[in-house]
């Protein structure tokens, strides 16, 4: 059976179904991260004193670099989508590959940060700040990993669809991109909250 509305917009929503689907999913993601942000506010306002990220051994220069990497990956992602739309599969492969590598770079740097914290005996159980730090960055890291799996699939075997149905493939990349930009957006708020304030 043919999946309906993968390319042509559904008359009542004006959207292909996957786009409505990803936005509903992102709405639920806003609530997931929102609940944890709200918990952060509660923990911080309820604590007699709140440490600065730097005092807990957080590496601001490294996290700044990670922020720049993730922002770059958002740009390469949107360029990957534009390349498919313009019918340039070679450029798509280049930009999608860069997006994947940026994701990998982000995770490696995050890994270095985590490793350094464990070496200096900073664990989620150490204090409330580190508990919420590991919860928020850990959940965000899992999201990056999930996005990398999807992006890697579309860079490799998933790109076969381009030959059969380029419009549908472009839509898949748009949907994957919406998710990836959301993950970037979450980090844009996590970074100052945990590292700079």
């Amino acid at each position: 059976m043919e999946i309906p509305y993968t390319v042509e917009p559904r008359p009542d929503t004006g959207l292909f179904n996957a786009k409505l689907g990803i936005w509903l999913f992102l709405a639920s993601e806003v609530m997931l991260f929102g609940a944890l942000f709200s918990s952060y506010i509660l923990l911080r306002t309820g604590a007699p004193a709140w440490p600065h990220g730097r005092d807990e051994g957080l590496n601001v220069p490294l996290a700044t670099l990670n922020t720049l990497i993730l922002i770059s990956s958002s740009v390469t992602m949107v360029m990957a989508w534009a390349s498919v739309k313009l019918g340039d599969l070679k450029k798509f492969r280049l930009y999608m590959g860069l997006t994947f590598l940026c994701g990998l770079g982000f995770m490696v740097i995050k890994g270095i940060e985590y490793a350094h914290k464990f070496e200096t005996h900073h664990y989620p159980s150490t204090n409330t700040f580190l508990a919420i730090y590991f919860t928020l960055t850990g959940l965000h890291g899992l999201h990056v990993l999930g996005g990398m799996i999807v992006n890697g699939y579309f860079w490799g075997p998933g790109a076969k669809l381009y030959g059969r149905d380029p419009e549908r493939f472009a839509n898949r990349i748009e949907v994957a991109g919406l998710y990836w930009h959301f993950v970037d957006l979450v980090w844009i708020f996590l970074f100052p909250t945990l590292y700079l304030l």
Binding site: L24, V30, V78, L197
Partner: protein
Amino acid sequence: MDHTDAAAIRRQTKIYVAVFAALMVLTVVTVTVSYLHLSTALAIAVALLIASIKGSLVAAYFMHLIDERKAIYAILILTVAFFVVLMFVPSFGNFDQRILR
């Protein structure tokens, strides 16, 4: 705007590069400001303001929200409303404590 129009997409890619530059600059600004020893309240206000501008740029241009269908705006209005409530949940807790005392 029709996304399938090649000329329109080429125009958009120029905007993406400009947004990219703005996001890079704002990241450097927010880190620089954090070293200025502002009062906590002011530091939080400035950091959240910059993050909101960056977030809006990503949502508006990379996620194409500047030019989207009504159905998506409807979902997002509802999401924002619940999100705002969620952010005020911590203050409900303080309210309870005052009653208990």
